[in-house]
Symmetry: C2
């Protein structure tokens, strides 16, 4: 009897800098992982061609290995119509990306193809293989250059009425505060993203997440204050979301959460001081489990539990 | 052949001042409506007795009229465990109310009994008979002394992991702003509730919603400014919620929304300026349809679509 073929899933995770892509097995394990610089400033056609080529490359590798490709998915910044695969929202990090049909880049592979917003892919990966397993409802928050969010309700990724749910980074925390690229003012990501943090820590110096973390670990007061303030803003934004959707878990990833363990506890403390006691009864604030690979893994499993 | 009995539903709506109660037919029409002053400062037992007596009175009326009582429900301030009927959250307007089992007050009626948070009852009434009919997702917001909210997702009232979802009144809009009774600072209801508005309009004068509305209708600049500022705060809080849950509708009731028609347009304008364009694609901002009776009607139908 011939040995049955190994099933693999193609995942592409497009970011503002890199395109990560790979093959994932049915247990969520990455078997092949690649990363190239995304050609984000060369127009829609060139970038879409890059996605198409990456998917084709993965298909060839799978064939070579004798693996069976089950499906393929792409995660992208911006609002993505999950039904059609079209990017319809403005994505400030990728100029001219609006209007592209992401599913088309995968269609010639001959397997079911999916596309979604990158934060939704992260949430799906945590739901299937990470910190949101066996959880009814969760808010997945990734703190990076911006602050991304994906929502899990009733054990599914919740996309909302026009595929835009989960955008916790654009919660107003400071009424008429700093202007944000989204057009609003006082958005959470202007105060609590890694970029906002580094700006607050001093523009002129060579400040990075690493130098700040090192200083904080040594008990450096200025670094601790900057990090504490970021945790407070994040706590305020999260408390608002918790009061509204009363999730079972808040899953935090990126930035400090990944490299400075006390940060999670700081954020949790702020959340517990600020949110409704009744909304905190079942709440757990935990770290994301899948790290930088969540987007790729989630993209590979789009269409499952979503 | 005997005429089949008319089916009626018992609803009780407990507020910080009054207890409204009545009989509702299967079409959501109120057949009998009563209102008494709630004995909120006389301890849990007295108030629970009042609920029990009101429900008994309605039962007697139904019997007299030859109507068949199908079920009974209570809406109450505070967090209510929808499964057990117990009030478990602190409700600042009703001292000592925590711990009471609301279902018990209805149990002797011999019909299925339900209890829920009052804002959830409002949302359910709008879902079954009002502005949220045939809508997948909606946020129902009532602006009064405080700001209450109820969430509809997937055509159901969404209660969250510990029956506390929907609390949009406690969205932080001003980081480290005015202290709120909930323990947090800068909550939306400290800036955009009717109480906050009247406070902003001048504590010493005889300012009411009516006098402010009259002044605004005559083009009075100070009144228009106060109302405009309230709409801006409300717009900021709603935009945060819209970015997070991307609902089909925002349904606004209470306060100015009920007596000053331009208010809805003002709030909608603020929302459209502040929320993500992608999250606004399907959004409608509309007025609540059931007014002051929504709580009673929703309580009567608890257990249906919820």
């Amino acid at each position: 009897m011939p040995k049955s073929k190994v099933s693999v899933f193609i995942g592409l995770d497009l970011g503002g800098t890199d395109l990560k892509y790979g093959l994932v097995n049915s247990g969520g394990k990455i078997l092949v992982s690649k990363k190239i610089r995304a050609r984000i400033n060369e127009g829609q056609k060139i970038l879409a061609g890059q996605l198409h080529a990456a998917a084709g490359e993965l298909m060839s590798i799978a064939k070579q290995k004798g693996w069976k490709v089950v499906r393929a998915g792409i995660g992208s910044p911006g609002a993505v119509n999950f039904a059609t695969g079209k990017v319809f929202g403005n994505s400030p990090n990728i100029p001219g990306w609006e209007g592209v049909n992401l599913k088309k880049s995968l269609r010639r592979l001959g397997v079911p193809a999916y596309a979604d917003n990158d934060a939704n892919c992260v949430a799906l990966a945590e739901l299937l293989f990470g910190a949101a397993r066996n959880v009814q409802s969760a808010l997945c928050v990734t703190v990076g250059t911006g602050i991304g969010g994906g929502l899990i309700l009733n054990e599914q990724v919740y996309r909302g009425s026009s595929f835009s749910a989960g955008e916790i980074g654009h919660t107003t925390v400071v009424f008429e505060g700093k202007p944000c690229a989204c057009g609003n003012r006082g958005c959470l990501e202007k105060y609590a993203s890694v970029s906002a943090l580094l700006e607050a820590a001093g523009e002129s110096e060579e400040v990075t997440v690493q130098t700040l973390t090192d200083a904080a670990k040594k008990g450096g007061q200025p670094a601790l204050e900057v990090i504490g303030r970021q945790a407070a803003y994040l706590g305020a934004g999260l408390a608002s979301a918790i009061n509204l959707i009363n999730p079972e878990k808040v899953i935090l990833g990126g930035g400090f959460a990944d490299v400075y363990p006390p940060f999670l506890k700081l954020v949790e403390k702020e959340v517990r001081q600020r949110a409704f006691p009744a909304a905190l009864l079942k709440l757990k604030v935990v770290q994301a489990k899948l790290g930088n690979e969540a987007g790729l893994v989630g993209a590979a499993f789009l269409g499952k539990k979503s």
